[in-house]
Symmetry: none
DNA sequence: TATGAATGAGGCTTCATTCAT
DNA sequence: AATGAATGAAGCCTCATTCAT
């Protein structure tokens, strides 16, 4: 079985497994995604999957970490100190919308994961650290009396909620997202948290 | 059927199954809830469960319908024409918070169900009808320029989001809900949608 | 539940069960015919079926006895001493063909039953007695050197085979049975056994 | 795969499953043969059976195809152009008798299968092709006015019937098959179809 | 590393029969 | 006689994981 095509390197297999897993889970759900199907889809044999991951659950968790991290980083990288506070929030909001719109699989996965009762998110230290700039921005904004003095995660939820919602409807193809709507939606979210 | 003493009439079994199912699913997830466990927990034998429901999936769907309906009704019944628009919204918001806080199982179930990729909610006519007063309130409020002119469901999401979020944190026991916080959270949600 | 319509008498229920059973088994096979379906089809409740029959297997056996007996009697009643031997055989042959053609359910049932390995036909005394005139005819015909001296049941098989076969094809709608074909087929069967 | 010693290669398991299945079904019937018993008897674990066959029904069908094909081939290979027509028929007849006598399990299986109402034989192309020489012989014999001009399958039934019947009685141990009887029986069958 | 056959517990569902009424 | 709810063993099949190669 020697193919001319470049053999996948080590980490490629790992990546292939995760990618296949993500695609399958987003369409079929965790429990409707047997390892055998992951094997077929990823091109990595069942047995070998267990060489890269100790168990199915581990794949799920690793995937969650990876996606969540990616998402957080997109947000964090999307604003800069050059912007006014409101501009920063706007940037972040647009990034949330954009990321979710352009990552339907990841969106579905996150949603499922974060609503599974028996899979405790248990945000790893890693995620906390990555999200720090966001927390700092919020804390700072509260202190400067730009946004309301509410618990940070509530603020995030209020603020982010609209964008996530719109993205889901966009993916489900039950809405048309024009600039006007986006702007109006952002304003609503901003109104929610601004002082 | 002359016994005065409740001998667990017909519908009691049905109810027992649904109740057991709800409890188990909320703690273990759909797929981690085998029918055998439902049988044991509900006190209804495996075989007999299938006398009341055609399949596991049907139980899930019926349960969703029932809970969602209950939740919608709670909201709808919670406001009256005597109130100002803002008061109505406030009543609804508080009911959402209260319902979710006091119905952790139902909350978990709804959350899981509505995020399952392979179980399409497909809101039945029944639910639509029940929710009509809410839709009317929103439509009316938009027309009277009390709230923003945004898609109804986005408004609901923005508006409801804060209450649901707080309830979840309350259930997870990661927040203390005092009146002040509740009031502030409501204000934020109201700011999001009010014109 | 008092209907104006005449309530089925005792034996009517028995008959209803057997009739429903026959129809279902002929289309679905023994094991694909649950008692619950028999109940629904016959209009007799599950529990009550067991008032009339001790078990499912008993119904099968009774049904077999009844049908086989009916079939045998049709043959026996179909010839008389007024006829020549050949005429008698012809009459019987035509009756077999006719009975099978006009009793597709019974035919299917007999076929299934007689080929079930775990249901031993064990022809009851009753059946033997009923078939005696046939046996006598054959014995007599052998003695008079009209037909070949072969084991009785082989003769029956050879002789009957053609008619049964034609009837099955007729039922399956894969043949057109005109008089000419019938006559030719009879001749073939007669040739098989005649001396 | 360098071992010389037979270590039960891949296809051995497949064969083991089919063999066990055949034995069980012939003695207990399709529906009285649970997969668990097939597993135990064949020495292949339940789960692994499904690695070789998609379902129980598939095993049945494959088995039917295999056995029927084997049987047809035995007949087809049993006569040659060197023989007179009558000799050819005789050869075939004897082969049918012999095959059935020496293959009681297969005989029982074929009988059950071909009388199951819900399993349509649907003779595959493969079987048709294999049986072609037989059909040709019959067609030719009709043309040369050696046998009667009757539908091919009726001829087969008439002709084959006696041999099959005898074999069944032999297997059931309710007959003694000596040469004289065999010869007489063959003559009867031949008389049935010969012109 | 890599394969995929093998395992076997466990999942959902069916169904003959019994039981309470 | 009659009902149909109730039982629970058993059936078919799935699937995470391990094992032999």
């Amino acid at each position: 079985m020697k193919t001319r095509v470049a053999k996948k390197g080590k980490s490629d297999k790992r990546a292939a497994i995760m990618e296949a897993f993500l695609g399958l889970v987003s369409e079929r759900g965790f429990h409707n995604t047997p390892m055998s199907l992951v094997a077929k889809t990823s091109g990595v044999s069942t047995g070998n999957i267990y060489h890269y991951f100790p168990s199915k659950e581990d794949i799920i968790i690793e995937l969650y970490r990876k996606i969540k991290l990616e998402f957080i980083r997109a947000m964090v990288d999307g604003f800069s100190d050059d912007q006014t506070f409101r501009e920063r929030f706007r940037s972040i909001w647009l990034i949330v919308l954009e990321y979710r719109k352009s990552h339907p699989k990841e969106t579905s996965f996150l949603e499922q994961f974060e609503n599974s009762p028996y899979i405790t998110p248990s945000l790893s230290e890693e995620l906390m650290v990555a999200a720090k700039p966001l927390g700092d921005l919020l804390t700072q904004s509260i202190k400067e009396e730009i946004i309301k003095d509410l618990p940070i995660d509530l603020l995030v939820s209020l603020y982010t909620g609209g964008a996530v919602f719109l993205a889901k409807k966009f993916i489900a193809d039950t809405i048309v997202l024009d600039d006007e709507l986006i702007e109006a939606a952002f304003d609503a979210c901003w109104d929610a948290i601004k002082k």
